[in-house]
Amino acid sequence: MAPDISVPADAEQADRDRTDTESQTATDADVVIRGENVIKEYQTGTQTVRALKGIDFGIRPSDFVAIVGPSGSGKSTLLNLLGLLDVPTEGTVRLRGTDVSTFSDSDRTTKRKHTIGFIFQSFYLIPTLTALENVEMPRMLDKTPVKTRERATDLLQRVGLGDRLDHYPDELSGGQKQRVAIARSLINDPAILLADEPTGNLDRDTGDQILALFDELRAEEDVAVVTVTHDSYVADRADRVVNLVDGDVKNDGEPASGEGDHS
């Protein structure tokens, strides 16, 4: 598989990358989300902070991409853009070929709902809801309670919690909570799972189970997994590693499989 993350360190590099992009046009059809020369700036007081300094990326079905980097390197910003929670200042992010900047806030929310699943380090389950209700939560506003319940039950069985449907988060272990969170992220059949330190609060064994679950989902449902992590153990299992430093990709593509095409 061709890695899609590349970085123009400067303008010349950007030009070279453009040819790179063109060579991939044939496979563009199945790219879920693609960013080109993405720049993101924030206004903090009178200062303008450039959080992303023009990076390219592309996520295909069943990819497993790990984003690593020190804090302040732009990981959050990239996650925001991938999750359609924000639009770039310059450059384009395309969701299945459509520029996301053409979407209204409401459109983006709808697309996000049906394309992206979120998983967080702290799980963020709602403490007053049972495992089942937590999984149903993203679909509550759809007003299809019966269908939603069936789907949520299936998903919890799928992640191995079929016997914990009516347990509250308090009554679940960390690994179980994260599995509930994964089930929740899958309820709308997303194309991409965005996982923010998914194993950060888990021990190695439990983390392994979660990573195994990711592999399973990628294989069986063609879900792409993009994870932000500090953990080299997680990064090692990824197809591609994107190393963000100060809003730039430093060394792209050191996949465990050892296949990288970066310039």
Binding site: D86, S106, H114, T128, M137
Partner: protein
């Protein structure tokens, strides 16, 4: 899957809001309690005040607010009315009221031959003022007298008894006494009206006499007002021929005062509701800050800003409804007591009392909704990833 579950599934935002409220029970109860206090303040003061006003108005009405009293004015040549004056007044009043004159200077010769002063009213037909309990008033009731029940009891009079009345007339040669004998033809039913008298004589008996005061009895306060207006128009155009005094002006004054006091107190109540609004805002802001991550998750999984706003406004409205419902219940109890005390019937709600109660509830809910706007707006505009990454 239960039917309840299916129904709840139709109103997801309401379900979420309700669940959120019961999460921080104490905080929610306190916030609702602050609304409750405001609603009780407005509702109880308003409804209680309305009952008080009603009872006082009734009192004044009972005291004869339907009467207009006319005395000779400063510019009148004589300090009394004669027959001509009476006629003129009667003409002016027309069918709107009954003219009666009053003379308090008659004396009753009792059986023990002692004399007691009584107030006598000359009137065309006493039935226009009071109803008859016993006896009948003939069409032409010259030489007859109609007495009140109290008077009959006091002097042990029954129908067909004879009553000796002595009147005193000022003449040039000094006071002259005239004796009159009347037959009791009717006893009137009891009445608490102010301005009624014990002894009624036919108006014809008033001939050639001088009267210090004329009373016009009407059937309603509005008529009394109209009569007073007509009399002033006719007689007091340039000169003050008449002193016209009607209780309706007092009623109006009283209404103005009570309404003013009531509005002021309800205004104070509204201030407590304002404080309640601040408390709701505070509660909601705390909830929003506490649930920052959760709201971030909701946004991330596809809840729109509008959904977040609606859920939080629903929460605020639910707090308001909770406070208002209990508050109105308490205010109704207070109003029931006030009705029982002032009006003698716990369920005698006046229209303005009901308006105050409904208004208090509506105001309570509206205040909560407004109080929820800022926290809801703030929560909806939080950036999800920032909320989730700390």
């Amino acid at each position: 899957m239960s039917w309840l579950y299916r129904i709840a599934g139709r109103f997801p935002r309401l379900v979420i809001a309700r669940r959120n409220i019961s999460r921080a029970k104490i905080r929610s109860i306190l916030a609702a309690a602050s609304i409750l206090i405001g609603v009780v303040a407005i509702g109880a003061i308003g409804a209680g005040g309305a009952a008080f006003k009603q009872s006082q108005l009734q009192n004044i009405q009972d005291q004869g607010a339907t009467n207009v009293f006319v005395s000779p004015g400063f510019d009148k040549e004589t300090s009394y009315f004669d027959r001509e004056d009476l006629k003129a007044i009667d003409e002016t009043v027309g069918p709107a009221g009954v003219v009666a004159t009053k003379s308090g200077d008659m004396e009753l010769v009792t059986r023990g031959d002692s004399r007691e002063g009584v107030s006598v009213t000359y009137i065309d037909d006493p039935r226009q003022v009071q109803s008859v309990e016993r006896g009948q008033i003939p069409v032409n009731w010259r030489q007859s007298v109609v007495v009140s029940k109290g008077f009959a009891d006091e002097y042990d009079l029954t129908l067909d008894d004879r009553v000796l009345l002595v009147s005193e007339t000022e003449t040039d040669s000094g006071p002259v006494e005239t004796e009159h004998t009347y037959r009791v033809v009717a006893v009137l039913a009891e009445s608490q009206s102010f301005g009624t008298s014990d002894v009624y004589l036919p108006i014809e008996e008033a001939e050639n006499r001088r009267y210090s005061q004329v009373r016009v009895t009407t059937s309603s306060t509005t008529r009394a007002e109209a009569v007073a207006e007509a009399l002033r128009d006719r007689f007091n155009d340039r000169k003050d021929e008449l002193l016209v005094f009607e209780l309706t002006s007092l009623v109006r004054l009283f209404k103005t005062i009570v309404n003013g006091i009531n509005t002021f107190l309800a205004g104070l109540g509204s201030i407590s509701l304002l404080v309640a609004g601040v408390s709701i805002t505070n509660t909601m802001l705390m909830a929003v800050i506490k649930r920052r991550e959760e709201i971030g998750v909701l946004r991330a999984v596809g809840y729109e800003k509008g959904d977040i706003v609606r859920i939080l406004l629903l929460e605020a409205a639910l707090l308001g409804m909770l406070g208002s419902a209990v508050g109105v219940a308490i205010a109704i109890v207070v109003a029931l007591v006030a009705n029982a005390v002032f009006l003698g019937n716990p369920f005698a709600f006046t229209q303005s009392a009901v308006l105050y109660l409904v208004g208090a509830a509506a105001f309570g809910i509206l205040t909560s909704l407004l109080a929820g706007v800022y926290p809801a707006w703030r929560a909806a505009n939080e950036r999800p990833i920032e909320a989730l990454r700390g």
